[in-house]
């Protein structure tokens, strides 16, 4: 070959010419074609791909919304209504974007839960997990600022409440808040910078998603058994097996998404956000979007402002330490019957917090919220470290193929190789 060209195996001369100079075709073939993937994924492993698709949908719809939106306090609300009424299919673009945010959080919450249940955060995937937590934090910031843009009552008052949290920072709190606002209250400068950042952050998310996927392709995927693939029997080439399995998930996801968009587009929103922002009139109850409710409940569980803010941030930052808080050698909760129960309780505490977050800050909700908050942290800081040491896990299978195929695993398999499968899967049985 010489001349420092990449040794491409691509047949098509044009693609080959490109691939020799920039081996993207080889890379895609390697990472999404022959990429060895555990053969025993269940449908929980769809949600990474779904999150990726959702991000693409959000960016695509967002670009078109930005073409028609005016980030000015006097015009923002009306410009959104103009999109709904006068822009061709503007209502569709906006409802997809609006409900896309909810879908994104549903998908990502399930994706995170999958990681927790099957121990996907454990060595060697700690950094992969932590990059995921970074993505989640960026998503929260993006979603929060996006919700401000229509400049309705909840936009304005949500922005006021959340930015005001920073006033709890000792000594320089008020100065930070003024700096965030670009003035002395949430106003036009705030709206302008939120719009700018709301457009910027998704591309930062895309960058971190790239790192997340790059890290995934170093370690390879975890799987429901939580044991590493040992040989070719344990894996399948990503294409066609998981391209087609992900496609099934994508269609199901699109059906749920479409149902929301076309038949109940405002169900997950708050009616108050169709009232134009009014700094002189505070809504009876300021509530964030549903996907922030658990964290909002943790914030309000503490009577002290600074304490609440610290606890709220800690509730997500603790995820960073999860790989080290979990002391168990066994990844998958399938083999941890006791820890599994406490993890389910943690999921329940998360939903309880979501419920409490939507209620007014009065009894008995405050007390229930405090209990759920206590358990939320107890799980991470006490139960998980202890159970790893105390619990005797069930025996692990010898290998993925043994667990899936039984005793006949060792036998070499036959069967046709699907057209398009680049690598011959040695694992038919």
């Amino acid at each position: 070959m010489g001349m420092g060209l990449h040794n491409s195996e691509v047949k098509n001369p044009v693609l080959r010419w490109v691939d020799q100079r920039l081996p993207v075709v080889t890379m895609i073939q390697k990472e999404y074609g022959t990429f060895p993937t555990p053969r025993n994924f269940n449908y929980f492993w769809n949600f990474g791909a779904l999150a990726m698709i959702n991000l693409a949908i959000m960016i695509a719809t967002g670009v078109f919304l930005a073409m028609n939106y005016t980030p000015h306090t006097a015009m923002a609300f009306d410009s959104v209504e103009r999109i709904m009424r006068d822009v061709n299919y503007g209502w569709l673009i906006r409802y997809v974007h609006m409900n896309g945010a909810s879908m994104f959080f549903i998908v990502v919450y399930i994706h995170i839960y999958r990681g927790m249940y099957y121990g996907s955060y454990k060595t060697p995937r700690e950094l992969l997990w932590m990059l995921g937590v970074v993505i989640f934090l960026l998503m929260m910031a993006t979603a929060f600022m996006g919700y401000v843009l229509p400049w309705g009552q909840m936009s304005f008052w949500g922005a006021t409440v959340i930015t005001n949290l920073f006033s709890a920072v000792p000594l320089i709190g008020p100065e930070i808040v003024t700096w965030l606002w670009g003035g002395f209250s949430v106003d036009n400068p705030t709206l302008n910078r939120f719009f700018s950042l709301h457009y910027l952050l998704p591309f930062v998310i895309t960058g971190v998603v790239f790192l997340h996927v790059a890290a995934l392709h170093v370690t390879g995927s975890n799987n429901p058994l939580g044991i590493e693939p040992k040989d070719k029997q344990d894996t399948l080439p990503f294409h066609p097996y998981y391209t087609i399995k992900d496609s099934v998930g994508i269609v199901a996801y699109l059906a749920v998404f479409a149902f929301l968009v076309f038949f109940m587009p405002n169900y997950l929103g708050h009616p108050d956000n169709y009232i134009p922002a009014n700094p002189l009139s505070t809504p009876a109850h300021i509530v964030p979007e549903w996907y922030f409710l658990p964290f909002y409940a943790i914030l309000r569980a503490v009577p002290d402002k600074l304490g609440g803010v610290v606890l709220m941030f800690a509730s997500i930052l603790v995820w960073f330490a999860l790989p080290w808080l979990d002391t168990s050698k066994v990844r998958s909760m399938r083999f941890r019957p006791i820890a599994r129960i406490f993890l389910f309780l943690w999921v329940i505490s998360f939903f309880v917090l979501m419920y409490v977050g939507a209620r007014p800050a009065e009894q008995p909700y405050v007390f229930i919220g405090q209990l759920a908050t206590a358990y939320y942290f107890l799980w991470f800081l006490v139960l998980l470290p202890l159970l790893g040491r105390l619990e005797k896990p069930l025996p692990l299978p010898e290998s993925i193929s043994r667990a899936v195929l039984g005793a006949r695993a060792a036998l070499p398999g036959g069967g046709p190789v699907p057209a398009g499968a680049a690598a011959k899967p040695m694992d038919k049985a």
């Binding site: 009424r85 209502w91 059906a255 968009v261 997950l268 109850h285």
Partner: protein, 264 residues
Amino acid sequence: MRSKGLTTMRILKALAVAATVTLGGLTSPALAAGEAPPPPDTRFSFDGFFGTFDRGSLQRGFQVYKEVCSACHAMRQLSYRNLLDIGLTEEQVRALAAQFTVTDGPNDEGNMFERPARLSDRFRRPFANEQAARAANNGAYPPDLSVMVKARPNGADYLYALLTGYKDPPAGFQMQDGMNYNEWFPGHQIAMPNVLNDGQVDFADGTQATVSQMARDVTTFLAWAAEPELETRRQMGVKILIFLAILGGLVYATKRKVWADVKH
């Protein structure tokens, strides 16, 4: 297969729990905010997943808005041309718009001038600004009605209940000056007086202008104004869901075929 079925069940269960909790959580602010009870469920032509706007009701509702509500309430997101969508002809809408005078300009001499409204003009607003509106309404500001149905929990049911919910205050109920008792308004004291009385308007189609009829028609009109895309949206949704169902069947069959000889 067995374990796969179980996993699917588990995912479905998780989603069901999420949906239930979200549902409970989201309806709650409405309840909490409501010192008024949730409005009773009223049947409208646009209810459900396949409902459409009754054109007769829309036109009568517009008449109620024009002859009654528009004295105080603006609908600044709407233009006269939008009325073509409720089944009026272009001549009718042009003639209707021409009844209103709007300010335009400046002209070549630099002066503002008045002219009859055209299709492209926004609905004329009853007051020049909020201060003028408050001055004329005992300090209260009649809100814009363009998206009112989306801006209240159970918007259509609430508006209908509100418009038909004026009553004498119960014994011992302390009313503030100039306020009116309404069963469905949060706090029960509303600045808006009862404006609908039997026979208030003359419907051209001969429909009896009872209070409940007028309330139903104007609510229908406001629901359309808030979501003029509703019918298109639902029709498109049916097509897309049918498409996704067929695609889903094909994709799932393909998946079964690809995986047919792989034990997993």
